[in-house]
C-alpha cells in the first residue's frame, strides 16, 4: 500500500541521517529515485524550492513527495515518517540525558558517521553534476552546446558566492535570473 510505503521509506530516511540539512540528500536520492517517485532533475529543482521556503529540507521533501504520490494523506504519512524517528529518539535521550552525553559508544559511532556523511554527499554531488551539466548523456556534442557552457558559468559564479557565505536564497534567485536571461538571449 502506497501510504505505508511512504511512511516506512521516510521513516528509514529520518532514522538514518545524522547532522540534518543536506546530510539527508544521499539517502533521499537513493530511495526516491529507486521508487521512481521523482527524477533526479526534479529532485534538484526541489532543493531550490526547499531553500526558498521555510522549514527543514527533510520535512519539505517528505511533504512534497507524499503529496505527489498520494495526495493529502500521502503527504501526512511521509512527513510523519520522517519526523517520527527523531521524535522518539529525542524523548528517550531527554530521559537519560547525562548518561547519553558521556557515552563512549555514542562518541565512537559519531567518529564514523561524521566523515561518512562527507563521503556520501561527495558521491551524491557526482550524480547531480552529471544531471546538471550533461542531462542527455556524455558525447562530444556537448562541447558545441551553449547550454553546457551557460550551466558551467552559472555554477562557477554561484560557487564563489556560496563560499563567500552569500545567503542561499540570493544564490538561487541570481541563478534563476541568469538562467532566464541565457534562455531568451542565447
Amino acid at each position: 500500500m502506497i501510504y505505508l510505503e511512504l511512511l516506512w521509506t521516510f521513516f528509514k530516511i529520518g532514522a538514518f541521517t545524522f547532522g540534518g540539512g543536506y546530510a539527508m540528500l544521499p539517502l533521499i536520492q537513493d530511495e526516491v529515485l529507486a521508487h521512481g517517485w521523482m527524477e533526479l532533475s526534479e529532485l534538484i529543482d526541489f532543493i531550490a524550492v526547499s531553500e526558498s521556503t521555510p522549514g527543514p529540507f527533510a520535512v519539505n521533501i517528505a511533504t512534497y513527495v507524499g503529496a505527489e504520490v498520494g495526495g493529502l494523506l500521502g503527504s501526512v504519512c511521509a512527513t510523519l515518517g520522517v519526523v517520527l524517528p527523531s521524535f522518539i529518539i529525542i524523548l528517550i535521550v531527554a530521559k537519560f540525558f547525562e548518561k547519553f552525553k558521556e557515552s563512549r559508544a555514542v562518541k565512537g559511532v559519531m567518529t564514523g558517521l561524521k566523515p561518512a556523511v562527507v563521503g556520501l554527499i561527495g558521491a551524491a554531488i557526482i550524480t547531480m553534476a552529471v544531471t546538471v551539466f550533461i542531462p542527455t548523456g556524455f558525447s562530444t556534442a556537448i562541447f558545441t552546446d551553449t547550454s553546457f557552457y551557460v550551466s558551467l558559468v552559472i555554477f562557477a559564479l554561484c560557487l564563489v558566492l556560496a563560499l563567500k557565505k552569500v545567503a542561499p536564497i540570493i544564490v538561487i534567485c541570481l541563478s534563476a535570473l541568469l538562467g532566464i536571461a541565457a534562455g531568451f538571449l542565447l
Binding site: G14, A15, F18, G19, G21, P26, L27, D30, I44, I47, A48, S50, S52, P54, F57, A58, N60, Y64, A67, E68, V83, S86, F87, I89, I90, L91, V93, A94, K107, G108, V109, M110, T111, G112, K114, P115, A116, V117, V118, G119, L120, G122, A123, I125, M128, S147, V150, S151, I154, F155, C158, A162, P168, I169, V171, I172, S175, A176, G183, F184
Partner: protein, 187 residues
C-alpha cells in the same frame, strides 16, 4: 497547575510554529531563532542548554529543527510539550509545501520557468558543494576520518553499495576504531 501546563503547551506550539515559519533552509539557521525565543523571550532555557541541544541534535538522527523542538518541549512540559513543539515546527513547512505541490507541475510548462530552473540547477549544485565543504571542515582531521570519507565515497559512487549499509558500516567502524584507540592510550 494543570491550567499552567496547558498554557505552556499552547505557548510552545505557537513559538515553534513561528520558528518553523521563519527559518529558511532549515538546520542550523534555526538555532539563533530558538535561542532568541526560548532563552531571551520566554526564559525556558539557558544559553548552556542551547549548546547541549545542538550537541544532542548532532549525535541523533533526524533534522536539527525536529530534534531541538522535541527536546525543548519535553524539558518544559513532558511528552505533551514535545508533541506540541514538534507539530508546531513542522506545520508551516507542511502547509506551504503542500500548496506548492499543487502548482509546481503547472508552473513547469512555462518557458521562463524552464529557463529559470536550468540556471537554478547549476546554482543548487554550488550550494550543495558549499554544504559539503562546511561539513568537511567540522570533521576531525585524522586517519580514521580520511579512511571513512574515502570508503563511503567509493562504495556509493562507484560500487553502488546501498547507502543504509554504508552508514551502518561506518558507524561500526567508528565505534571499533575509537575503542581500539582509547584502549591503546590507556596501555
Amino acid at each position: 497547575m494543570k491550567n499552567s501546563k496547558l498554557k505552556n503547551a499552547i505557548s510552545l506550539f505557537l513559538t515553534f510554529m513561528k520558528i518553523g515559519a521563519f527559518t529558511f533552509g532549515g538546520g542550523y539557521a534555526m538555532i539563533p531563532l530558538i535561542q532568541k525565543e526560548a532563552v531571551e523571550k520566554h526564559g525556558w532555557l539557558t544559553d548552556d542548554d542551547i549548546l547541549e541541544i545542538v550537541a544532542i541534535a548532532e549525535s541523533t538522527p533526524g533534522p536539527i529543527a525536529i530534534n531541538s523542538a522535541t527536546f525543548v518541549g519535553y524539558r518544559l512540559c513532558g511528552f505533551f510539550g514535545a508533541l506540541c513543539a514538534t507539530v508546531g515546527v513542522v506545520l508551516p513547512s507542511f502547509l506551504i509545501i503542500f500548496l506548492i505541490s499543487k502548482v509546481l507541475r503547472e508552473f513547469g510548462n512555462i518557458k521562463a520557468v524552464q529557463y529559470a530552473f536550468n540556471g537554478i540547477r547549476a546554482g543548487v549544485l554550488a550550494l550543495v558543494i558549499k554544504a559539503l565543504w562546511t561539513m568537511y571542515k567540522k570533521c576531525p582531521k585524522n586517519i580514521v576520518s580520511y579512511i571513512v570519507i574515502g570508503a563511503a565515497f567509493i562504495l556509493t559512487a562507484f560500487l553502488k553499495v546501498e547507502i543504509l549499509i554504508v552508514i551502518i558500516g561506518c558507524a561500526i567502524f567508528g565505534l571499533i576504531s575509537s575503542l581500539i584507540i582509547s584502549r591503546r592510550s590507556k596501555a
